[in-house]
């Protein structure tokens, strides 16, 4: 019975006493979904303080505004193609995506460790595996959404500008697959780092450091391998296996035949594609396994 049905002018708070709950209890799967939703919202600062919305929303803006500008240019100048292809757009703004990942992965995992909320979750119907599953899916979805929004802007812009429908649809889908891979590979590694520390700052620094250093190492190795050549030789392309971001870039460049220029990274040949795909699977499943192990003893 809602309180409005009582006369509002009595000014008396009626203590209606304790009421039990006889309604449905939806169990583990529902609780896991609830944790997923809450974590996905938390990654964008929703349901948290106003301050925590600033960075995620800023990153989303920084990532989307260039797409809007590109569309505007393409429409204004009546170009037949977008200035930047869909998968290339993601590689070009990889740093921004990494910043989001480094700042928000600890929000999902380190905070629960820091404030000891984890044991509280495990006193509810969900299991440790459910917790890892919900958090993993939430962070992957948050990353995917972050990249899907600008891609969608580009695609809608391309359709409005009556650019080639078949080409754009195809490459938009390539872009989505690339986004999914970016949302899986670096994210899984970042979650392992975030789960290792209850300190958010350490998590941010650890993830950013790992992603940046591994990229620099790949750049140095390919530069050494390239020597005085104009393009990166196949033998030097294997270095990309060391960095989650470069791994995804190389693989998708080769798979979707995109990218150009002398420093184009690509998985070398069919064998290379197979190895790079295996590396993707190993990195994601290995990280997931490490996460499960991390929480088995909490």
């Amino acid at each position: 019975m809602p309180p409005e049905t009582r006369p509002a002018d009595t000014g008396v708070i009626h203590d209606i006493g304790y009421r039990g709950y006889a309604g449905p209890r939806l169990g583990r799967a529902y609780a896991t979904r609830s944790l997923f939703t809450q974590s996905l919202r938390a990654a964008y600062g929703l349901g948290r303080s106003g301050k925590s919305k600033v960075l995620p929303m800023l990153v989303l803006g920084v990532l989307t505004v260039p797409a809007v500008i590109m569309v505007a240019i393409a429409l204004a100048t009546h170009r037949s193609e977008l200035p930047l292809d869909y998968p290339r757009y993601l590689s070009a703004f990889g740093l921004i995506v990494s910043i989001f990942l480094a700042s928000q992965a600890p929000v999902l995992l380190s905070r629960d460790l820091r404030y000891h909320t984890v044991p509280l979750y495990f006193s509810r119907p969900i299991t440790r595996g459910d917790y890892v599953r919900a958090k993993f899916a939430a962070m992957v979805s948050a990353q995917f959404l972050l990249m899907a929004v600008p891609l969608l802007v580009l695609y809608i812009g391309a359709l409005l500008g009556r650019l080639d429908f078949g080409h754009n649809t195809g490459h938009f889908l390539f872009g989505l697959v690339t986004a999914l891979l970016y949302a899986l590979v670096p994210t899984s590694v970042a979650l392992v780092i975030a789960a290792a520390t209850p300190r958010r700052g350490f998590g941010v620094a650890g993830i950013m450091g790992y992603l940046a250093i591994s990229t620099v190492v790949v750049a140095i190795l390919t530069r050494i391998g390239t020597g005085i050549e104009l393009t990166v030789p196949d033998s030097a392309q294997w270095a990309a296996l060391l960095s989650p971001n470069d791994l995804v870039e190389s693989l998708t460049n080769q798979l979707f035949d995109v990218g150009g220029g002398g420093d184009r990274l690509h998985a070398p040949g069919a064998f290379g594609v197979a190895v790079f795909i295996a590396a993707v699977i190993a990195m994601v499943s290995g990280s997931y396994g490490l996460l499960l192990r991390r929480y088995s003893s909490v």
């Binding site: 006493g17 304790y18 009421r19 039990g20 709950y21 309604g23 449905p24 209890r25 939806l26 169990g27 583990r28 529902y30 609780a31 609830s34 944790l35 809450q38 349901g47 948290r48 303080s49 301050k51 925590s52 905070r111 629960d112 404030y115 000891h116 909320t117 044991p119 509280l120 979750y121 495990f122 006193s123 509810r124 119907p125 969900i126 299991t127």
Partner: protein
């Protein structure tokens, strides 16, 4: 064929009947938990009936381990247990859906409001979104949190935080709540309020409570029943009243002799009373404990003290406080080890020989 299946059905019906009759909310049988270097629980057999039950033990006695195992979060090394009739080894998620848990440590994210947090925890217990919101508003009001529930919890006092922790344990209307040291960090007034609230959880809400503490005194007023464990072993499980019942002991303390400083007045009194056929032990350095045989025990003490020319500082009847348990019963438990191991759930009220504990204190 038909006959045997009929028999099976009868057996099943009987099993269900037995399940209904057993009203224990918690029941363990030989529960043991060994870690590589310590044994946290040692063949613990205990039965907890509905009501407010105190789980008493010093730090490291195995209280938290027991709660973890009861929630189905950690497997027992051996032994079995049931919570609300559900098996702790196989029905963990079902148990956790029906049980509330308030941890000892802080567990509240500071940048979230109490409402937001408790709604989330209600959904984590399986409540649909609308019910979660309604129950949250109700529960926070019942624990005494009003306007402040919309503010981030980082600014809450310890007392308010404890209330939120209690609310999240109650929000899904469990049949049983496990409260781990709920009065930790509270000032005396806050402690009294929390204890009164815990009492209400049972009397008004109809929810059984298992509350742990290492501060014994406060549980005497709150709990119907006390379970005392030490070193993972059950020391005693009986009603609170039987713990605090008046024991037939008189505490006697006398002054030194005004002139004869060489006289050890305590020993002199002790020898004289013993000669008069009374059982006397030393409690601490100055207090004598005299077994009360009847009214003439008072007279004997008065006369003895007067004859020796001493002053009487103290003459009072001793109540058996729960706090004395660890001094006295620990020794008994080791002696009666096999006994507690197998029949721990039976009442341990049989009058313990407190004089022995006193004697050991003195030596």
């Amino acid at each position: 064929m038909r006959g045997s299946s009929f028999q099976l059905m009868a057996l099943a019906a009987q099993a269900r009947y037995v399940g209904c009759v057993s009203t224990a909310v918690i029941k363990t049988d030989g529960l043991t938990k060994r870690f590589p270097r310590v044994t946290a629980l040692d063949r613990l057999t205990v039965e907890v009936q509905p009501g407010v039950v105190g789980l008493v033990g010093s730090n490291g006695a195995g209280k938290s381990t027991l709660i973890k195992i009861l929630l189905g979060l950690a497997p027992a090394t051996s032994g079995t247990g049931r919570v609300l009739g559900l098996d702790i080894g196989t029905q963990g998620p079902e148990i956790r859906e029906r049980v509330g848990y308030m941890p000892e440590h802080d567990c509240l994210p500071p940048d979230v409001s109490a409402t937001e947090f408790v709604v989330h925890m209600a959904r984590m217990a399986g409540l649909p979104a609308a019910a979660a919101r309604e129950r949250t508003a109700d529960t926070l009001r019942h624990v005494g949190l009003y306007e402040e529930r919309y503010r981030p919890m980082g600014g809450y006092s310890t007392g308010m935080k404890q209330r939120v922790k209690l609310a999240q344990a109650l929000v899904h209307d469990p049949k049983l709540v496990l409260l781990d040291e709920p009065t930790n960090g509270l000032d005396p007034a806050g402690r009294d309020e929390m204890l009164a609230l815990i009492r209400r959880v049972h009397t008004d809400f109809g929810i059984s409570v298992l509350v742990t503490t290492h501060l014994l005194g406060e549980l005497e007023r709150t709990c119907d029943h006390l379970v005392v464990i030490d070193g993972g072993k059950l020391l005693r499980s009986s009603s609170t009243a039987s713990f605090t019942e008046a024991t037939a002991l008189l505490a006697v303390e006398v002054t030194d002799h005004p002139e004869d400083t060489a006289l050890d007045s305590g020993t002199a009194v002790r020898e004289r009373l013993a000669a008069a056929g009374l059982s006397v032990t030393l409690d601490g350095s100055r207090v004598l404990l005299v077994r009360l045989e009847g009214d003439d025990t008072y007279d004997a003490i008065r006369d003895t003290v007067a004859e020796l020319g001493l002053g009487l500082v103290r003459l009072e009847q001793r109540r058996h406080r729960v706090a004395e348990l660890f001094g006295t019963e620990a020794t008994e438990a080791t002696e009666a080890d096999d006994d507690t191991g197998s029949t721990g759930s039976t009442d341990g009220t049989d009058s313990a020989d407190h004089t022995k504990g006193g004697a050991e204190d003195a030596s």
